[in-house]
Amino acid sequence: MTEPRPLLEVSRVTRVIDGKKILDDVSLSLNKGDLKVVIGPSGGGKSTLLQCVNFLQVPNQGDVFLDGVSAREMSRHNINLFRQKIGMIFQDFNLFDHLSARDNVAIALRKVKGQKKAKAYQRAMEELDRVGLADKADLYPSQLSGGQKQRVSLARALAMDPMVMLLDEPTSALDPELIGEVLNVIAQLSYSGMTMLMVTHQIGFARHLTKEIIFMEAGRVVETGPPELLEGGPGGGRAAEFCAKLAEVTGR
């Protein structure tokens, strides 16, 4: 039996900014339904990697394939069509401040997909309901808590029916108390078969949900493997060492 074609393939991506290699020949692939977690120290290129996946930053070398479609090829025609199929979640939410939660979710449906207002609103309410915020639909971002904002941003991304979700430290800006509600939604998504690439420092969470951890440092993928990779012990790799340090800080 042959391996299925990966849904998302990042192929030998290099990104140089001001002569510095932020990403150095990074490759990875996700099959449908995979949740892969990228960990590593700050400045290691994790966020840049995610932004290279949907060409928010254009790699200097290499390419990204979504269901076999080349991003570089698409960027010559209309990269926006490529990006539509990839949902993205940011550390600081990046909700549209002037729009209610409902409109935050509906605006791309209306202005990008060209849906009628009523249809877009109906879908927006379904997605807000999915993340448990149907009762907050009329509130504006500045009236929501951090956890609620991140859930709205998840609803906003999901409404576009993405094939893949990119999550860039979705809980890093949240109070410890609010992290759970966001992680719950992400876990639900993963169980329902969503393909996700997630940068996080929530090692415990990652360990339970993912089959593969990708450890990045200085723009390179240093180690890749199952969550056991993070188990320390003598002779543990760089990833284990990093996790031990995290555990020291969090006491877990």
């Binding site: 949907n54 928010l56 926006n80 069509l81 990006r83 539509q84 990839i86 949902g87 993205m88 940011f90 600081d92 990046n94 909700l95 549209f96 401040d97 002037h98 605006i107 791309a108 202005k111 990008v112 509130l139 504006y140 971002p141 500045s142 009236q143 941003s153 906003r156 991304a157 576009m160």
Partner: protein, 250 residues
């Protein structure tokens, strides 16, 4: 008793009715002033918005052009601009460079005044909008692009609606400045407040009372416009977005 007799003497009564008639004549100039400033602000908005957007997001060579525009129109006094435009700035271009117009392009004083004030205001307004655009958190543009918006549509649907709201207080400032700049339009013979005041003052030699009255009119128009924009500001304010100020306890 004599005092009251004198107060209602025919001479004084005539003087009062004369003044109220002249004042009415001057006040009717408000219509011109309001039309002048409304059109100039509108022209400034229509030109200033794309200017600012290009200044922030445009390619380098276009940025240079907008920079040149702002540099020129902020550098030239309104008075000079009015004379340039009224006395054939376009004629000059026409006769020496292009042959764009079949007939000579003649601007009425009113049109020339609107054009001068509007072109200058566009330069100032572009700076207001530029500051406002830059103050919108840049992650929102990134999020819009990630959703599949084109950059242009992301700017139109996400950035500008917020930037325009932020601009209102500074825009009301621009209104109050431009309103008073519009008084200069009298030199072209536009029949706005100032032209009428000068006419009345110089024919009756009652300078003080007429200029005081004109000042009062400008004061009221400024107050009305600023008030109107404050109401607009309140109406379109984004709920929950803090406008409050931290006040330290003494």
């Amino acid at each position: 008793m004599d005092f009251f007799k004198n107060l209602f003497s025919p001479e004084i009564l005539r003087a009062i009715t004369d003044f109220s008639q002249s004042a009415l004549f001057i006040a009717q100039g408000s219509g011109y002033t309001v039309a002048l400033i409304a059109l100039a602000m509108l022209l400034g908005l229509i030109l200033g918005l794309p200017l600012s957007t290009i200044t922030v997001y445009g390619p380098g060579w276009l940025k240079k052009l907008t920079g040149l525009y702002v540099w020129f129109f902020r550098g030239v006094p309104i008075l000079v601009l009015m004379f340039l435009i009224y006395f054939g700035f376009f004629d000059l271009i026409e006769s020496f460079y292009f042959k764009l117009f079949e007939e000579r392009l003649v601007l009425t004083p009113f049109k020339a005044a609107v054009l001068s004030l509007g072109l200058a205001s566009a330069a100032y307004q572009s700076q207001i909008f530029k500051g406002a655009i830059l103050s919108v958190q840049s992650g929102q543009l990134k999020a819009a692009l990630a959703l599949g918006f084109s950059k242009k549509r992301a700017i139109i649907h996400v950035i500008l609606p917020q930037a325009l709201r932020i601009s209102i207080p500074a825009w009301s400032n621009e209104y109050s400045i431009l309103l008073k700049d519009s008084a200069i339009a009298y030199v072209l013979g536009t029949m706005e407040i100032m032209a009428r005041t000068r006419f009345m003052a110089s024919t009756t030699f009652a300078h003080i009372r007429f200029y005081l009255f004109a000042g009062l009119l400008y004061f009221v128009l400024t107050w009305l416009g600023v008030k109107l924009l404050a109401v607009l500001d309140k109406k379109v304010r984004i709920p929950g977005l803090a406008h409050d100020v931290f006040r330290a306890e003494d």
